[in-house]
Amino acid sequence: MIRSEILRDIAPLLCDHLVVCNIGLPSQELHMIDDQPTNFYMLGTMGLSSSIGLGLALAQDKKVIAIDGDGSVLTNFGTLSTIANNCADNFILLIIDNGSYGSTGDQPTYAGKKTSLTAVALACGCENVIECQAEETGAVLKSALEGDKMTIIVSKCKSGNIKVPVIIMDPVVIRDRFMTAVKA
């Protein structure tokens, strides 16, 4: 399974919750598969999906799922210690770990080599860290949503991309639509 297949799989779980989606192909894929006002698409700023998601979860009570990538977590490694030390039980970080920088042409990341993001998250002090295979992502996410515990999911999948259009929605429209959904 590749990332877009995971997103297709979990879209019915995502649509009822606030979702912060990582820059590049993940946002473009989610936008194509199931555009929702509850989705915040990152159009830039690699690495900050988990930070935006945590800030959002700490500021209000609805459940927040931040979709991140292995490359993006590697570029903002400090985030895992901030998450561990500022627990928000309405927060789920879903790291789709395909071992590559998908949006830039599938160059390998260190997460696909010796570095285990699961081990790093645990070492940072995150308490509920679940590593799963791509096929299990839906079930793991579902039980994380049912439990009221902050959860980090590391979903191991194959690298690979599908053809997908860029998002042409204006960023202020994305943000305003999202904030209206947050308040609803």
Partner: protein, 165 residues
């Protein structure tokens, strides 16, 4: 009221409830005061761009944010300022320790100080410079301005300002 208490009371009066910080010696007192303030949730960041991500999320969650950092962080956060805070039009007061000005003991700090205002000007970021203790009286208006215009706004606080306090 001490200047740290004055700053924090302006934050509270402007309903700022979510503050992230990366420490600086000059800002130690204000960070301690924020940490002790029950109206403000304080979340330390490892890096200032991470902090801006937290602030963006908090803002979308309905809480007014602010970031406390050193001017060296302008170098760290340029991309985040452009592609997140400005592109999505989010308000963000940045209380900045302006290192490398008169009285600075560390030469390297001057290297970033000489670029600080130029970078902020290049990014069309409204910039205020606190040099004397009385300058803090403008903070309330600056915060109101920030949330009126939905922009990142820089408040540079130099060593002379903190020395008078």
């Amino acid at each position: 009221m001490s200047v740290n208490e004055e700053i924090v009371s302006d934050l509270v009066a402007n309903k700022i409830e979510f503050v992230t910080s990366v420490p600086c010696k000059q800002l130690a007192g204000v960070i301690d005061t924020i940490e002790a303030c029950p109206e403000i949730f304080h979340i330390p960041s490892n890096k200032e761009d991470e902090g801006m991500g937290l602030c963006a999320g908090a803002f979308m969650g309905g809480k007014r944010p602010a970031i406390i950092m050193q001017n060296t962080a302008i170098g760290v956060t340029i991309n985040t300022l452009a592609t997140l805070i400005q592109f999505y039009r989010m308000p963000l007061p940045m209380l900045i320790s302006y290192r490398g000005e008169l009285g600075e003991p560390v030469a390297c700090q001057v290297e970033m100080a000489v670029h600080t205002k130029a970078l902020l000007a290049q990014f069309n970021i409204p910039t205020y410079h606190f040099h004397h203790q009385d300058d803090v009286n403008e903070l309330d208006a600056i915060l109101k301005h920030t949330f009126m215009c939905n922009k990142p706004v820089a408040i540079l606080t130099d060593a002379s300002f903190w020395k008078e306090c």
